[in-house]
């Protein structure tokens, strides 16, 4: 059956969850059933043509039983500011699910997840899937300050969480990349790394792990995006072969070792 990609979804919640970060929830049994962690959606912000482009957001979480999708967004510009005015029972125009997804296979038992800031959005969906597949999960989550922390407490002892903040207002002081080497198990044969955050964070992880401990990393890349469907070629990133790959249709999940950070 053809996957349905165009949706008008009923908004059921749109609330701030921390400083400048909102969670919007809407009904879409189709997306809930046919999506996977790492995939994204393109949201239309207005009925008119200004702002012109849709905005891409990772699917943060799905409730497959109730057919509900969560997205996390940070208010950084006019588009996301307008989104804060979305009300319950409004219809939102959604395209997706788009892009590829994280690979969760039998080749690993330990999942190490690194998440930075709003980049952590897809991590909830990822963790839910990892739990379902009985993986052991360690999450290192960092933000600038305590005020921007996102709460992972609901997972209780199902996952091992380590928090850090750049100003030291909560957890360990520093960037997530400052502490990850210490957190890698000595025997890491069956560790799979997942990273969700800004691109500079990936570069740091790349540099750290190319030197010593080498574990495979799947990363969710960010890029300015227009179409989201592979036709405009605006969201290209350079890979090690010096070719460009499109974040929207050949990603957003890439193997970190393939990314060319010098391009």
């Amino acid at each position: 059956m053809k996957t349905i990609l165009l949706h008008k979804c009923l908004i059921i919640k749109n609330i701030p969850i921390t400083n400048h970060i909102y969670k919007i929830s809407f009904k879409s049994p189709d997306i809930a059933l046919n999506s996977a962690p790492g995939q994204f959606l393109q949201l239309r912000i207005t009925e008119n043509l200004d702002p012109f482009l849709r905005r891409p957001f990772s699917i943060s979480r799905v409730d497959k039983k109730r057919g509900i999708i969560d997205i996390l967004y940070k208010v950084i510009g006019r588009g996301t500011e307008l989104m804060t005015h979305f009300k319950n029972n409004d219809l939102i125009d959604v395209v997706g699910p788009l892009g590829n997804s994280f690979t969760i296979d039998d080749n690993f038992q330990e999942a190490l997840i690194i998440a930075g800031g709003i980049g952590c959005a897809p991590v909830f969906y990822l963790i839910d899937e990892l739990i379902r597949k009985d993986k052991n999960i360690k999450l290192i989550f960092g933000s600038k300050t305590r005020k921007q922390l996102i709460d992972f407490n609901e997972y209780g002892n199902k996952i091992d969480v380590l928090i850090c903040t750049e100003d030291g207002s909560c957890g360990i002081k520093g960037l997530v990349t400052d502490i990850i080497l210490k957190e890698i198990p000595d025997s890491f044969d069956s560790v799979q790394g997942f990273a969700c955050g800004p691109n500079p964070m990936y570069k740091k992880i790349h540099d750290l792990f190319s030197a010593s401990k080498s574990i495979p990393w799947q990363v969710s890349m960010e890029s300015k995006m227009a179409c989201g469907t592979g036709v405009c070629q605006g969201c290209a990133i350079k890979v090690k072969t010096n070719e460009y790959k499109l974040v929207c249709s050949q990603g957003p999940v890439f193997n970190l070792k393939d990314i060319n950070f010098n391009g």
Binding site: K2, L49, D50, V231, C232, A236, E243, Y244
Partner: protein
């Protein structure tokens, strides 16, 4: 029944809607959304002799009611197109028009010659109007002499429908239009993107890697409409209107201004639902206004003041 068919060169199109090159890939990407054969014809991404990886990032920047791009004609190149891409176009039953580009006139000729032997390809659109490449592109399309030379050279090796895509970034688009037609163009498509730029005031850096880029979207529609109007009064070949078309009303406007058909561009980036609604709107408008053939609308501007 409203007859929506139009003729461009030797091509009879079932309706006047086409996707603009570079906003539609090779037609395959949108098959998961709708049947792309709803279009009158398909126009593929610009094809060059050699593969091109395109410009470095950032390649796009949003503007009010529009989009700046500097993709740089990223494409697979002629060999891969012939050996791989063509095979994936089997599902396209409407006419396929290939947009071609190059850094030199010889490159255009080489690509056109190869395409002329392919029965699946019903026409070519010559891109002499891309603002985002250092050689060729807009540099050709702003010079009436080179325009004439390039079009007549391609005309010699290509006998099917030949469309020339024009840039608005000239003093007088009518002069370029006449050069292209005198050199043998069957039709003209216009406008390609308008040269534009944006700057991040905090870093004082341009938002595009190439500093300037091509502006598309509703922001350029009035410019496009005026250029179509101007060219329609300069030449006698069909014109394909392009620029910020997002609704059936826009299509009607372009036809009244003098276009025979239109290309839908950046709308593909925000609305992947296909041309069906637009076609319905056009049909309803025609019914309401007792128009039996869409061609009756072409060049039907009232109270024109030529004085």
């Amino acid at each position: 029944m409203v007859d929506l068919s139009v003729t461009i060169g030797s091509l009879k199109l079932k309706n006047p809607l086409l996707p603009a090159s570079g906003t539609f890939g090779y037609g395959t990407e949108f098959m998961k959304f709708y049947d792309v054969n709803q279009y009158g014809a398909i126009i593929t991404k610009s094809l060059t002799l050699e593969p091109r990886s395109g410009n470095t990032m950032p390649r796009i920047a949003e503007t009010n009611c529009g989009l700046l791009n500097s993709i740089g004609l990223a494409n697979v190149g002629l060999d891969v197109f012939l050996n791989e891409t063509l095979g994936t176009l089997q599902h396209i039953t409407c006419p396929i028009i290939v947009n071609i580009a190059g850094s030199t006139i010889d490159e255009y000729i080489a690509v056109a010659r190869q395409l002329s032997s392919l029965p699946q390809i019903k026409g070519i659109e010559i891109n002499i109007s891309c603002p985002n490449v250092k050689q060729g592109g807009m540099a050709f399309g702003t010079d009436p002499g080179i325009t004439s030379q390039i079009v007549s050279s391609i005309r010699e090796v290509y006998s099917n429908t030949l469309i020339v895509k024009l840039t608005p970034n000239v003093t007088d688009i009518g002069i370029i239009a006449r050069s292209a037609v005198d050199a043998g163009a069957d039709a003209l498509s216009l406008i390609n993107t308008v040269l534009g730029m944006r700057i991040d005031i905090n870093t004082k850096r341009p938002l595009l890697n190439t500093i300037t880029g091509g502006l598309s979207g509703p922001a350029i529609k009035p410019i496009a409409l005026a250029k179509v109007f101007q060219v329609a009064r300069s030449v006698d070949v069909p014109i394909i209107g392009i620029g910020g078309i997002t609704s059936w009303e826009d299509v009607i406007e372009f036809l009244i201004a003098g276009a025979t058909a239109v290309e839908i561009g950046s709308l593909h980036f925000i609305d992947p639902s296909g041309p069906q609604l637009m076609l319905e709107g056009i049909k309803n408008y025609c019914k309401k206004n007792s128009i039996h053939k869409i061609t009756e609308l072409i060049n039907s501007l009232e109270s024109e003041n030529n004085d």
